[in-house]
């Protein structure tokens, strides 16, 4: 990036500070001398829903620009110009292997078919965090409303997600109880302790053959990464955390639960929006539910777990309820897009600098069919996306959907129609949009040209 750009960005950041002063106080730039130079944000958000959808009511039947939203997706109509529903994608290595699909949604890794030990590979968000995470206080944020983290490190180790909204708020905006001096001392003490324990482990590690070292390597890598985080925390110590106005702070610190699911979901989305508005991070993953035990949604009269509903056994009532929860989840997603549109930075809506992926690693949950995954890409216009169409990889081969033949459609959702239509292609496209230099991700065949401007 040229200096000119950089300067302009710095200036505009100051201007924004002036403009927004009453609303959100951004960190003072003067203190940021030792920090990486500010850069123009390119943001990414990944949102996972468990157990697939009711594929019969979900499927958009027409490709191209004049497609019609199906019932569960109706609330996205107002975002038509900013989104692309995609049909026909799958992860080739996990076909038919079920409850692991949340683990590989962003990694595409192979899962042993016999329940054996599973080692994941790096998730797309973490690759992005390496490239885009250097300029912010947090290189990435992992959260989960229910369920587990979507993020996996380079060593294939899960990066835990925070599920407690108050903890999330505190780490983003909370004021430390201890004085800066005390924190600095603690950080420096941590630094020297980490040095020592790393040295101690390294001494042993050197004596071991490379095949013997995996656990110690894991330990050493972890220690070094914490050293890096500690160093980063130290650098950011002089930059005050962004101050959230009292009214918003109170709203974001409410203690809610799944008993009021809608409010609870929106609280998570609001926290994400606030994290992006304050440029606290540029990469967020959020698991919206767990494969096994996502709670019911009392406010729409559904008490069963989503897992229970997904094993609907063809029962029309169960299917109806599944569609209802699909509709609810999309409604919440639509709210998130509203918020990203509403908040502007340099007169550009946040949504335009944020690519958002919403989807599931499962399509037809009842018999664990995981082809034709429900997938929606949104936002990121200034990152070079072209939205507004339904991109469909099934239609070129099947010509036409016939939803009235349920078993026939379930087959499409269980076995890929186009073996080259891979989620990894989409993840690769997303990497490239935010300046990750990559021409391959996992088993990708190539980027998805239909969505790139």
């Amino acid at each position: 990036m040229s200096n000119l750009n950089l300067n302009r960005w710095q200036i505009s950041r100051r201007q924004m500070l002036k403009g927004l002063g009453a609303c959100i106080a951004l960190p003072l730039l003067d203190c940021m001398a030792s920090l990486p130079a500010p850069s123009k944000p390119k943001r990414s958000v990944f949102l996972y829903i468990p157990n697939g959808v009711n594929t019969l009511t979900w499927q958009i039947e027409k490709a191209g620009a004049d497609y019609e939203f199906t019932k569960p997706m109706k609330s996205l109509e107002k975002h038509r110009a900013d989104i692309t529903p995609i049909s026909g994608l799958h992860h080739p290595m996990v076909l038919g292997k079920h409850h692991n699909c949340e683990k590989v949604w962003l990694t595409g890794a192979n899962v042993p078919g016999d329940g054996g030990a599973f080692r994941n590979t790096v998730s797309a968000d973490q690759i992005i965090a390496d490239a885009q995470g250097v300029a912010t206080r947090f290189s990435s944020l992992e959260m989960a409303i229910e369920g587990v983290s979507l993020a996996w490190s380079k060593d294939g180790i899960q990066i835990p997600a925070e599920r407690n909204t108050q903890q999330i708020f505190n780490s983003l905006f909370g004021v430390e109880k201890d004085s800066k001096e005390t924190i600095r001392r603690r950080l420096s003490r941590r630094g020297s302790i980490l040095d020592l324990v790393a040295e101690d482990a390294n001494r042993v590690n050197k004596k071991l053959g490379s095949e013997d070292r995996s656990k110690l390597d894991e330990y050493l890598t972890a220690v070094r990464q914490v050293e890096e985080r500690t160093r980063r925390a130290d650098e950011w110590l002089n930059v005050p955390k962004p101050v959230v106005p009292a009214s918003e702070a109170a709203r974001l610190q409410r203690k809610l639960s799944m008993a009021e699911a809608g409010e609870y979901y929106r609280l998570f989305y609001d926290l994400m929006v606030m994290a992006l508005r304050t440029d606290s991070t540029r990469v967020i993953t959020c698991g919206i539910g767990s494969e096994g035990n996502t709670s019911g949604i009392p406010e729409i009269g559904i008490l069963q777990t989503r897992h229970g509903l997904s094993h609907h056994n063809g029962d029309p009532e169960q299917l109806r309820r599944l569609t209802e929860t699909d509709t609810f989840l999309v409604g919440q997603f639509s709210y998130f897009l509203d918020q990203l549109k509403e908040h502007k930075e340099e007169n550009t809506p946040l949504l335009d600098t944020t690519q958002v992926l919403w989807g599931s690693g499962m399509a037809y949950g009842h018999s664990h069919g995981n082809a034709n995954l429900p997938t929606i890409l949104a936002g990121g216009k200034t990152l070079g996306y072209k939205h507004g169409t339904h991109v469909d990889f099934n239609l070129p081969k099947i010509a036409k959907y016939d939803i009235t033949d349920a078993q026939g459609h379930y087959k499409i959702c269980s076995k890929p129609v186009d073996e080259n239509a891979r989620v990894s292609n989409l993840l690769l496209t997303m990497l490239q949009r935010v300046e990750v230099k990559a021409d391959k991700f996992q088993d990708s065949v190539g980027p998805i040209s239909q969505i790139v401007a």
Partner: protein
């Protein structure tokens, strides 16, 4: 999907020409399997033709033992019926294919186990969350709340086991959490100043909380100190805190004095004490005590410094206290006999007995932080008495590291920790903080967070005495070795089998052995799955968290009773007794008189109880269900894994779902539908081996209740269930009881499985071929001792296997 192009393989075997799999070199393939491939596969995937660019005859035949994912692919293709293709003229019979699939699956399982059992020079087994808590507790006498929000994460599991070294990974967050935890632990162990004792009692309703209008009236009547806080079902009491905040983190003792009125036909009120900030239930118990004879319940809990956020509930279903029932009025409550406030529902029946489960709270008392002299002196032993005395620093850190690392410490290691203290002192830190920094480094070191076995510089196949002490201690107590084990390791006598026998006896007599019985039973039987798929509230309104806890409690205490009562493995399969509390007895429809409300007591089961043994316990029957329906196939898989140690091959991808029962068709049980489903030949072969192990429990619904009819959609009457079946070997049963008898006749198979599970748990790794002989000799020892559980545990500890790396 097309068959993927074969990547360039480094092949250990190049096979002879002519499409034949050479017998000499294909040692890995069983003849029948080889014939199958030669007859049905090689024609299209061999030397002459490579359909889909895929060739079988050049694959390594060490199925499962080399990295050859193609065999997995082949297994899945055959399993799904995709291969050999339907149009083939001489298509193999379904059972032939099933045999090949089963053979491949077994090899892959063996290969995987061997891979996981493979050990480098040093094995590093990370402490599990529970083990970490127990270990720091023993080390420094500090209770660490690892399950609080933001603390440690749940450990990953492998086939139910949570302590397998190769599966317990470590991420940067783990290190951050270890650092944070150690800071918290050391702050509590060595506070800036000794906390002042915190003590006091307060009435549930304080004088100034009584409405002024009533205050003087009641004072005049001498009743002001008799005002109580009445709690309707679901009601909450917030007045637990004393005026002052807690001075330091630590263990506090809280007592509630209260009455609990149980309606004649209904549940007892239940006291539940919950910390909202920590999201932790501190205590729960049913309370039954007349109004004029309140009881005092006391418990201890670990709390952080400051103001706790304690909510006390009467946690029992009943009329809501919201609209009209139990809203508290301005009129202070003194006795239920005073009658209702106008908008309330009636409190009592004609005889003056409570109509609903009420709790009536009198007072709360606090005491803490509680620290025993022993804990105090243990902590003091690791801390220099004299400021600035570096010799003492070295001595203390040495003592701490030795205990924390569960082995002697080298000078080089110790130099590092003392070095940290020096560096901190040089940076003008206070002596106290500098020493703590050294301790912090010890608690974050690899030697503390990993239980290491082996030497980095030489290959060693057996454990040394320190490692035996740790293995034994983590097996039976889930914590670090105690002083006695340490002393024995130092003396070098832990290789001695007579000594090991003595230690097993001593350790099992200790109450910490409960950690073994609870934890092993949970992992072997996969009790963590109970409640994972929450039972549907409409179908199972009786089900709640209290019942769930009782179900799991029954199974864990049943295991404990078999161990501690000197009983045999037979009891797990069939017994005429079980462990019961009042709530669970009611749930099973058994007499509940005289049974404890919490805790468990051994009871004899009536002949017609339909219970006995593990398999018909509510916990086991629930964990194999999906929350809505019972799952006979899941139950079969569970029996196959837990009792016979065999995991059936995975179902082929994309099986057609069991069609639903249309509402206008005659009702059918799940079993009937399942049987129609497995007419499909490619499913039948496997299901014939799995299903008979699960169909014996058709008499039990998704939460383990006994039934004779299955409630289902459709027309007509609910169909009768059919709990009969035929085992693969031809033996038949018609009831769950008969099925249990058949299992008893196979006791040696179960004996073998059980020992394998115990070894997996104890050795923290999967069991492989190379352990076979040792396992056999433990099994023989078990048989010689009539399969007594206690003797099995002892036989395992004194076996050669136990001392093997």
């Amino acid at each position: 999907m097309e068959i993927p192009r074969l990547p360039a393989l480094v092949l250990s075997l190049l096979l002879a020409a002519g499409g034949r799999l050479d017998a000499e070199t294909s040692g890995g393939l069983e003849p029948g399997v080889r014939d199958y491939f030669e007859q049905h596969c090689v024609k299209c995937h061999g030397e002459e033709k490579q359909k889909g660019d895929f060739r079988i005859d050049t694959l390594s035949t060490k199925v499962g033992f080399e990295n050859n994912p193609q065999w997995l692919e082949i297994m899945e293709r055959i399993n799904s019926g995709e291969m050999p293709p339907k149009k083939t003229k001489e298509r193999p019979a379904a059972d032939e294919s099933a045999k090949v699939v089963a053979w491949l699956a077994d090899r892959m399982k063996e290969g995987e186990a061997a891979l996981m059992a493979a050990r480098g020079r040093v094995s590093y087994n990370r402490l599990t969350r529970d083990e970490y808590v127990n270990t720091v507790g023993d080390l420094l006498g500090v209770h660490f709340d690892a399950k609080d929000p933001g603390a440690f994460l749940e450990d990953p599991e492998w086939h139910g086991f949570e302590r397998i070294g190769s599966v317990l990974t470590l991420s940067p967050s783990n290190i951050e959490k270890y650092l944070g935890a150690a800071e918290v632990i050391l702050a509590e162990a060595y506070p800036e100043k000794k906390p002042a004792p915190y003590e006091g009692t307060k009435r549930a309703v304080m004088e100034d909380q009584v409405n002024a209008r009533h205050r003087e009236r009641l004072r005049a009547l001498g009743l002001l100190d008799k005002v109580r806080f009445e709690m309707w079902p679901g009601d909450m009491f917030r007045g637990t805190n004393l005026q002052e905040p807690l001075p330091e983190a630590g263990i506090y003792e809280i007592s509630y004095t209260l009455s609990g009125l149980k309606p004649e036909k209904g549940r007892a009120p239940r006291l539940k004490v919950y910390e909202a900030k920590l999201d932790r239930v501190l205590y729960e118990q049913d309370i039954v005590a007349p109004e004029d004879q309140p009881v005092t319940v006391t418990f201890r809990t670990h709390l952080p410094k400051g103001r706790p956020n304690i909510e006390v509930y009467n946690d029992v279903p009943g009329p809501s206290n919201l609209p009209r029932a139990g809203r508290h009025g301005e009129t202070p409550f003194i006795s239920i006999k005073d009658g209702r406030i106008p908008w309330q529902m009636k409190l009592t029946d004609e005889q003056g007995r409570a109509r609903y489960p009420f709790l009536i709270m009198d007072s709360v008392a606090w005491r803490g932080p509680i620290l025993t002299d022993e804990e105090q002196s243990r902590r003091a032993g690791f801390f220099p008495r004299e400021d600035g005395n570096m010799d003492e620093v070295r001595e203390c850190l040495g003592a701490l590291a030795r205990r924390a690392f569960r082995r002697p410490v080298t000078t080089e290691e110790l130099d590092g920790y003392v070095g940290i203290v020096k560096a901190e002192l040089d940076a003008k830190e206070k002596f106290r903080d500098a020493v703590k920094a050294g301790m912090l480094a010890i608690l974050c070191s690899k030697s503390f967070v990993f239980i290491a076995e082996g030497d980095e510089s030489v290959n060693r196949g057996t454990l040394n005495d320190w490692e035996i002490a740790a293995r034994l201690s983590y097996l039976l107590w889930s914590t670090m070795p105690d002083a006695e084990l340490f002393a024995l390791a130092e003396k070098g006598t832990l290789h001695d089998k007579a000594e090991l026998s003595r230690q097993v006896a001593r350790m099992l007599a200790d109450e910490r052995a409960t950690r073994f019985t609870d934890s092993f039973a949970t992992q072997w039987l996969r009790l963590r799955r109970v409640g994972m798929f929450q039972p549907d509230k409409k179908l199972y309104p009786d089900y709640d968290k209290t019942l769930e806890a009782s179900m799991v409690g029954e199974t864990k205490s049943f295991f404990r009773e078999v161990l501690q009562g000197g009983l045999t493995l037979r009891e797990f399969l069939s017994s005429d007794w079980s462990m019961m509390n009042a709530g669970l007895a009611q749930y099973y429809g058994l007499p509940d008189e005289g049974l404890p409300r919490d805790g468990f007591q051994r009871v004899s089961l009536p002949a017609d109880s339909h219970r006995g043994g593990l398999l018909t316990q509510a916990a086991i029957l629930s964990l194999t269900s999906d929350g809505t329906r019972h799952r006979p196939v899941h139950r079969g898989v569970w029996v196959s894994e837990a009792i016979f140690g065999r995991s059936p091959p995975p179902p082929p991808a994309n099986v057609e779902p069991i069609p639903t029962n249309p509402v206008d068709a005659p009702k059918a049980t799940l079993r009937m539908k399942l049987e129609a489903h497995i007419r499909d030949a490619r499913c039948a072969a496997c299901h014939a081996r799995i299903d008979p192990l699960g169909l014996a429990f058709e008499n039990y619904d998704a939460i383990g209740r006994w039934r004779t009819d299955e409630i289902t959609d459709g027309t007509g009457t609910n169909p009768k269930v059919d709990p009969s079946g035929t085992l693969p070997d031809g033996r038949e049963y018609t009831t769950p009881e008969e099925f249990k008898k058949l299992l008893l006749a196979d006791l040696d198979a179960f004996n073998h499985t059980f020992i394998e599970k115990l070894a997996t748990y104890g050795l923290r790794r999967s069991i492989s071929f190379s352990d076979r002989d040792e396992l056999k000799s433990i099994a023989a020892e078990s048989k010689a001792k009539d399969y007594r559980l206690r003797d099995i545990v002892e036989a395992f500890v004194v076996s050669d296997l136990f001392q093997k790396r």
